[in-house]
């Protein structure tokens, strides 16, 4: 028996996992419309590589990764692109996000799928391949996997199959039914990272999954470790501590101590990518809560959640829907939002399952939250500072080490929405950080401008001095005629003024002429005009970029 290293705190809420594990995984039917959000992963959103009206095949790349921390998105089924526009997204803000809308043709025609022989492929190529195939962490954080895979000579590869949040059972079912494929995926990750040891952490409330995985792991050397059922053992840092006894340094990466952690569903997609040539276009979603037929479904990314819910038939007294678990999930305000890569579970809420919490009272500093905090923070202090907007203090007390797991919230006898306060404070601090960066940029540019003006002044003075010397020399030659040159300068000034005035008049006339046109805008014409302006602006900013570059090189010379 492997020794475990319990993390601090943790809670044990009611599990509610059994209703959704009564039946095996079912495949959700193909919807008529798929909405593929371009921001399905953390980092920068993908940029569309198809146009409205294009026919796409199942698995075809439709959004390409932008930069390192980004990932691609693919067409979940064959059909036609009908729109590329802002669509409601499953984000807590309820704000719409840029998405590609597909109309499916029901034919499910695949693009050409290329299997790979990973054992004879350079890990760097495999990582690139994972980015192109849209592999991201499916545990909920959706961090692009190719970035996490970028390490070698690892001691330990931790596979996170704890699934600690109540209600969710998709990883459980995945392991029960597809353990062999999961293990193949683990082998790929192990190969890329050169991991010496593989530990698969599964909470001991999933005996069937543990048994299935143990059977599948025979002769692989991977070790299945049953960990106590204690939320949040499925948080990567806590699971690593639990299994290896090592703490991931604050702000650091686990690879610094020779460890990396992947969700079990993520390694399964790695297997699909390498051994089947399929990009990430579907995932398992648990439909549970106040429903007649709770069950796990294999769902295409982009399926509208409203369509999906019809399968599980929510009961009449359902009060709302939640994406994710009850501890860290996101409320769904709009059922037209699509399934994204982060959608592991949809819970229908009801008064019986989620009784309204007692009213919030003032904090009495009982420190139960500190006893429950798996990050070993002092939530009561963080609350005190966040409440009074004392963000500096909140930072000093390590607010950014908070993983927003909600344990403090769960045990609070005053029922203060603590996590909300932390989210508020964090988002204020990040916004402030952004402002400060903008301010630094502005300061730099302002200082450069002052430097430039000073230099121009000096250059002007130098030119004037040279000119004056020249003039003096000229004046020495011809003493007469100096009066004429002065008069000439006056004339020039007057002419310039007149020219400006004329330009102003022209501009006014033009403005007057243009205005009415804009008012009775014909859509096509307006669109064309906007496009034209956009094009011009793009050109202008290009020249501006060049200008900045020139300034920078000037600066170099100046210094």
């Amino acid at each position: 028996m492997r020794p475990l290293f319990p993390f601090h705190g943790g809670i044990h809420p009611a599990e509610h996992k059994s209703p959704s594990t009564q039946h095996g995984i079912a495949v959700a039917p193909l919807p008529a419309r798929l909405v593929v959000t371009l921001r399905q992963h953390s980092g920068s959103p993908a940029s569309p590589v198809v146009a409205v009206g294009d026919q796409v095949l199942k698995g075809q790349l439709i959004g390409a990764a932008e930069g390192l921390i980004s990932s691609s998105v693919h067409a979940p089924s064959s059909g036609r692109v009908v729109a590329i526009e802002k669509q409601p997204a499953p984000h807590v803000s309820g704000l719409p996000d840029l998405s590609i809308v597909l109309e499916t043709d029901g034919e499910e025609r695949w693009v050409e799928r290329q299997k790979m022989d990973f054992c004879n492929t350079d890990p760097a190529l495999l990582r690139q391949h994972f980015q192109d195939m849209g592999v991201v962490g499916l545990g909920g954080a959706v961090f692009p996997s190719h970035v996490k895979l970028n390490a070698s000579g690892l001691d330990t590869l931790v596979i996170n199959a704890a699934e600690c949040e109540p209600f969710i059972s998709c990883d459980d079912m995945l392991m029960r039914e597809r353990a062999a494929e999961v293990v193949k995926g683990i082998s790929i990750a192990q190969y890329i990272m050169g991991a010496r040891e593989v530990l698969i952490g599964i909470e001991d409330n999933k005996p069937q999954a543990i048994a299935a995985m143990q059977a599948a792991c025979e002769e692989t050397g991977f070790e299945v470790v049953a960990v106590p059922t204690l939320y949040p053992s499925g948080s990567a840092k806590q699971l690593i501590k639990l299994l290896t006894g090592k703490e991931v340094t604050s702000g650091g990466h686990p690879t610094q101590m020779g460890i990396q952690c992947f969700n079990v569903a993520t390694v399964y997609t790695m297997h699909r990518v390498i051994n089947h040539g399929e990009p990430v276009i579907s995932r398992l979603v648990t439909l549970t809560g106040n429903m007649d037929e709770p069950r796990n479904y294999e769902v295409l990314i982009g399926t509208p959640i409203g369509d999906l819910l019809k399968l599980a038939r929510p009961k009449a007294d359902t009060t709302g829907y939640l994406m994710g678990g009850p501890m860290m999930g996101v409320p769904l305000l709009d059922l037209s939002v699509p399934v994204v890569k982060a959608t592991n579970c949809i819970i229908a809420t009801s008064q019986a399952l989620f009784p309204p919490l007692p009213r919030a009272m003032p904090c009495i500093r009982c420190a139960r939250c500190a006893q429950a905090c798996p990050a070993e923070l002092q939530p009561q202090e963080l609350f005190w500072f966040s409440k009074s907007r004392n963000f500096e203090k909140a930072r000093e007390y390590k607010l950014f080490d908070c993983i927003e797991c909600g344990c403090c919230n769960y045990v609070c006898p005053s029922h203060i929405p603590l996590v909300q306060f932390y989210r508020f404070a964090k988002s204020e601090m990040l916004a402030h950080e952004k402002d400060r960066k903008a301010a630094d940029l502005a300061r730099e540019r302002h200082e450069f401008r002052e430097f430039r003006q000073e230099r121009e002044k000096q250059e002007k003075a130098a030119r004037h001095a040279a000119k004056a010397a020249e003039m003096a020399a000229k004046a020495a030659e011809t003493t007469a005629g100096s009066g004429e040159s002065v008069a000439g300068a006056d004339d020039a000034a007057a002419a310039k003024k007149a020219a400006i005035q004329a330009a102003i008049e022209r501009a006014k006339a033009k403005k007057a002429a243009v205005k009415p046109q804009n008012v009775d805008d014909l859509p096509a014409e307006a669109q064309a005009k906007i496009d034209e302006i956009d094009l011009r602006r793009a050109q202008a900013s290009e020249t501006a970029g060049q200008r900045v570059a020139i300034q920078k090189s000037d600066e170099g010379q100046g210094a």
Binding site: P417, Q420, R423, A439, R443, R452, I500, K511
Partner: protein
């Protein structure tokens, strides 16, 4: 009487010598505080404080010559941070101070622009690209929204546009919750 005089003179000489030595030994060059104040100011360079830029205002604050409530774009947040840094009481913002505005950038109506370059000269952060007799354009990512380019424009072709930051600019709100079941409308907002 003489004794008293001698004692006082002696004390003065000794202490004066010590202080004189100390003033040489602990001489302070410049004022390192300016940097800290400058770091708090939003660097919009709008000059609404009455100083020609953020740095001069920072210098004035550090020297104790200026109130800390003059930064209009920074609003109350900046004033409070300054008060905190300097350990002085917060000063209310002037009554006519503009309310904090959402982030804005200038936009040039390129149909109307005559290319006079007057706005180029006014821009404190060189965020306007263009040359004489060509239409100008604003580099939105570098515009601080200071509005200094508005007055010089002879044809009023510059407008301020509020930036829609979408999801990237979304922030969590301050949590508001009812403090009792029966009084849902009375809410703790601290």
């Amino acid at each position: 009487m003489l004794n008293a005089l001698l004692v006082m003179i002696g004390l003065a000489v000794v202490l004066g010598a010590v202080l004189g030595f100390a003033s040489l030994k602990f001489r302070v060059e410049g004022n390192p505080l300016v940097e800290k104040v400058d770091a708090i100011l939003p660097q919009i360079q709008c000059g609404q404080c009455g100083y020609p830029g953020c740095k001069p205002y920072a210098e004035a604050i550090s020297a104790g010559n200026s109130a800390i409530n003059l930064c209009a774009p920074g609003g109350e947040a900046v004033m409070l941070r300054l008060a905190d840094l300097l350990g002085v009481d917060p000063q209310p913002l002037a009554a006519d101070a503009a309310l904090p505005k959402p982030k804005q950038v200038a936009l040039i109506d390129e149909q109307t622009c005559i290319g006079c370059t007057l706005c180029l000269q006014a821009c404190p952060v060189d965020a306007i690209a263009g040359a004489a007799k060509q239409m100008h354009t604003i580099i939105a990512s570098e515009c601080t929204g200071c509005e200094l380019c508005l007055p010089p424009c002879p044809v009023d072709c510059i407008t301020m546009e509020t930036v829609d930051e979408g999801l990237g600019g979304w922030k969590w709100k301050y949590p508001v919750y009812p403090i009792s079941e029966e009084e849902k409308d009375t809410e703790v907002t601290s």
